[in-house]
């Protein structure tokens, strides 16, 4: 066993993880005056110095194509991580498919994520009451609404006021005007009576707190060199460090939460990846935000005589009810867009329009074969050319060919593609969970997770509805469906984890027997232990999780500050 080096100082708060959840806790608590130590398992990352913004595929090897090490290409912001992290495996139970994207870097997945920022609606907090499936949250939309306001105002989200059912509006900056193909999709959606409205993304269209507005290069996934989009380091962590209250330690892979004789957390122990030494850091309050499954792993690995099943696990529910988002996609080709005068269709790094779920009433009237909804994300147009651009078009659209005629025809077909992706709600089930694999440790000697995962018919039939709807939209535009999936492929439903929206694993609730955390994401069993990533989620509405992580994390942080003031928690 490596020598354990203890840090003599005791911090007010130790935060594990630096993504959306760790970032918001650090920001709120550092500004409230708490002395904080933040631990990040990856390296330092500063997008203002490391962004690949404006680079061209032809300037880098293999036109920047994805590799095993960089699955989303050379420009992706993720410096270390992806579907596999070297030396940090996970395992799958027989018959289960699960993919787990981890980003080992300051800011975690906020560096490359899609910036989609949707509020959960009133129905989404009480899904069991609505249709008898899954569980209700112990809070309502109204409990979280003020924190959605705060989160949007800090990170900066554009959008529009629409007043649609279960699709709450927010504190939005103005939305960018739609691109040509997006206006066409809206026209088709209007015909089909599917609402198509400005998207809601955490990208600035107006300057905010010293951050400039977007310059519309469409490359948010590379991370933004000027912080015009939300990322945890640029918006939460670096500003929090300016208070002098936040100390950051990178390459710190946390092994376990330490507990005193009184059953309270006393800090954590971590492996310093540079020296491979164990280090202990003491804190009066411990906040986990290591990502939903990593936080569950940490609790399960924090075993002691007092907590033989892992910490905060008297309910036996740590690791249970892991959810991802239902994903299914269809692509098409739109002849109407051939040979148009060229224009710059970059815009922000993501869609300018989207379609929120629109069939709530039909579901309530039992007219739908599945519970819960999805929203539609769109893409297409004249995007930055890479090695795949126009490649198969000669065979697909021109019957082959070569020479000047081929070259001139191909130009006319550029920018005619459209893509539709559904993002839908998964209902938590008993067969989807993570646990410690008793036989495998990672390169730091820490036992790894084993995943169990299963979709139910609700999700598979939702994917079917996605396929049918997207084809209908494409055909309404006079388009040709180029990629779709049928029943033989379960309607193209993505693998569990593949949409990278994993939530749950330490659900909150109002009963210590049926939940791990209370409504403030405070462990029932260990009152100075909190979780601010997506692990406290009780359901996984079709509203991408990051904004709700930010709002919930803020609410938890306010609660911590308030409890400290009331002396219910000692600092």
């Amino acid at each position: 066993m490596a020598q354990v080096k203890a840090t003599p100082k005791t911090y007010d708060v130790v935060i594990v993880g630096s993504g959306a959840g760790g970032g918001v806790a650090a920001h709120v608590l550092a500004l409230a005056g708490a002395k904080i130590c933040m631990l990040e398992a990856g390296d330092m990352f500063d997008c203002t110095k490391q962004s690949k913004m404006f680079e061209w595929p032809y300037q880098v090897p293999h036109r920047g194509a994805g590799t095993k090490e960089k699955p989303w290409g050379a420009f992706d912001a993720t410096t270390l991580g992806g579907w596999q992290v070297p030396g940090e495996p996970y395992t799958l139970a027989p018959g289960s498919e699960w993919m787990w994207w981890r980003a080992r870097m300051l800011g975690g997945r906020t560096n490359h994520y899609g910036r989609i920022s949707l509020r959960m609606g009133p129905y989404d907090f009480k899904p069991y009451s609505r249709d008898g499936k899954g569980f209700d949250w112990p809070i309502t939309y109204d409990d979280l609404a003020p924190y959605y306001d705060k989160a949007e105002e800090l990170i900066g989200v554009f959008g529009s006021q629409e007043g649609l059912e279960n699709t709450p509006d927010g504190k939005f900056q103005p939305a960018p005007a739609p691109r040509g193909y997006e206006r066409l999709i809206k026209a088709a959606s209007d015909k089909l009576k599917i609402p198509c409205i400005p998207s809601r993304l955490a990208i600035l269209t107006r300057p905010l707190n010293g951050r400039p507005a977007c310059h519309y290069c469409a490359q948010c996934g590379r991370s933004c060199g000027v912080n015009a989009n939300f990322n945890s380091p640029g918006v939460h962590i670096f500003p929090a460090m300016k208070t002098g209250n936040l100390e950051l330690r990178t390459n710190a892979m946390v092994r376990e939460v330490l507990v005193g004789n009184d059953g309270l957390a006393t800090g954590v122990s971590y492996v310093d990846k540079k020296t491979r030494r164990e280090v202990e850091v003491r804190g009066k309050i411990v906040v986990l935000a290591a990502s939903c499954c990593e936080s569950a792993r940490l609790l399960l690995n924090s075993k002691s005589s007092q907590f033989p099943n892992g910490l905060a696990n008297s309910s036996g529910l740590v690791g249970r009810y892991v959810m991802d988002t239902v994903g299914s996609a269809v692509s098409g080709f739109l002849p109407i867009l051939q040979d148009l005068p060229p224009q710059n269709e970059d815009g922000v790094g993501g869609m300018h329009l989207y379609m929120p779920w629109w069939l709530y009433k039909e579901q309530m009237a039992n007219k739908m074969p599945f519970a819960r909804g999805y929203h539609i994300e769109i893409g297409g147009g004249r995007s930055v050319p890479n090695a795949g651009t126009l490649g198969g078009y000669a065979d697909r659209w021109l019957g082959g060919g070569y020479g000047v005629e081929l070259k001139q025809n191909l130009r006319k077909l550029y920018g005619c593609d459209v893509h539709f992706s559904g993002r839908g709600e998964m209902i938590p089930n008993e067969d989807s969970y993570c646990e410690i694999d008793p036989h495998v440790v990672d390169q730091w000697g820490i036992p790894v997770l084993r995943f169990h995962f299963k979709w139910s018919q609700d999700e598979i039939l939702q994917a079917k509805h996605m396929q049918e709807t997207f084809k209908e939209i494409i055909e309404t535009m006079g388009g040709i469906v180029t990629h779709s999936s049928g029943q033989d492929k379960d309607w193209g439903i993505a693998r569990g984890g593949q949409i990278i929206h994993e939530v749950g694993a330490t659900k909150m609730g109002d009963n210590p027997k049926t939940s791990v955390l209370n409504q403030y994401s405070q462990a029932w069993d260990v009152k100075n232990l909190f979780i601010t990533d997506a692990a406290p989620f009780v359901s996984n509405a079709d509203k991408n999780p990051t904004l709700t992580i930010s709002a919930l994390g803020w609410r938890t942080s306010d609660y911590i500050a308030d409890q400290v003031k009331k002396l219910n928690l000692k600092v």
Partner: protein
């Protein structure tokens, strides 16, 4: 004009100007498959294959009034690198075998036709062979292996060309730049789209009118 946060649009473009990536954009590097300095070192093709590939690249994407051909755009270098890259990533020789085997198929057919390797035959003789394999549905049964090879090669040459600096300008792709003010779809383009929605459009593929 500065707003209350003190960042003006002018400041923004100064900030963007200071991003290190911009330096790379303005560099003189043009069309090579990789940005490394010095002459390109082949990893896949031998001298004979290299000569054949260069001829094929310009037969598939020749120069026209808008842009140079595929060889000048650096596509042979892209192909050589891409095949090595895919071979390494996928851990198999499938793509490499298909392309190198296809080049031999071409030489074999060219020898039968003109007693010359493909690269040494006249352009008319080269096109005589390509015409047999460049339109997969029309290809004779015995030419199907050649047609499969040519489709695969054409995918790579087209993708390599339009993602090169020359190809980006050819399309043209007008993005990957800082935009002062985002205005959405150009109204003139939208007018054309609306007109096509109403009346349909007969291009390479037909778009039917939307109807009521």
């Amino acid at each position: 004009m500065p707003d209350k946060s003190g960042v003006s649009r002018r400041d923004l473009f100064q900030i963007i100007g200071s991003v290190p990536a911009i330096a790379a954009v303005t560099g003189s590097e043009a069309a090579a498959a990789t940005p490394k300095a010095g002459p390109y070192k082949r990893q896949t093709f031998d001298d004979h294959q290299w000569r054949t590939v260069r001829v094929l690249c310009d037969l598939i994407i020749p120069a026209d009034e808008r842009s140079p051909g595929a060889t000048e755009a650096g596509v042979p270098e892209f192909l050589d690198d891409w095949i090595a890259f895919r071979t390494e990533q996928e851990g198999n020789q499938n793509l490499r075998a298909e392309i190198l085997g296809g080049l031999m198929w071409l030489d074999h057919e060219s020898q039968k036709l003109s007693q010359k390797d493909f690269a040494d035959a006249s352009e008319a003789q080269q096109k005589q062979i390509l015409d047999r394999i460049a339109y997969p549905k029309r290809a004779a049964k015995e030419d199907q292996p050649g047609a499969s090879f040519f489709s695969e090669l054409r995918i790579l040459v087209v993708g390599g060309f339009f993602s090169s600096k020359v190809g980006v300008a050819d399309l043209p792709y007008l993005g990957n730049v800082a935009v002062m003010e985002w205005k959405g779809c150009d109204p003139k383009v939208w007018t054309i789209i609306e007109e096509r929605m109403k009346n349909g459009y007969k291009g390479i593929l037909e778009a039917k009118p939307w109807g009521a």
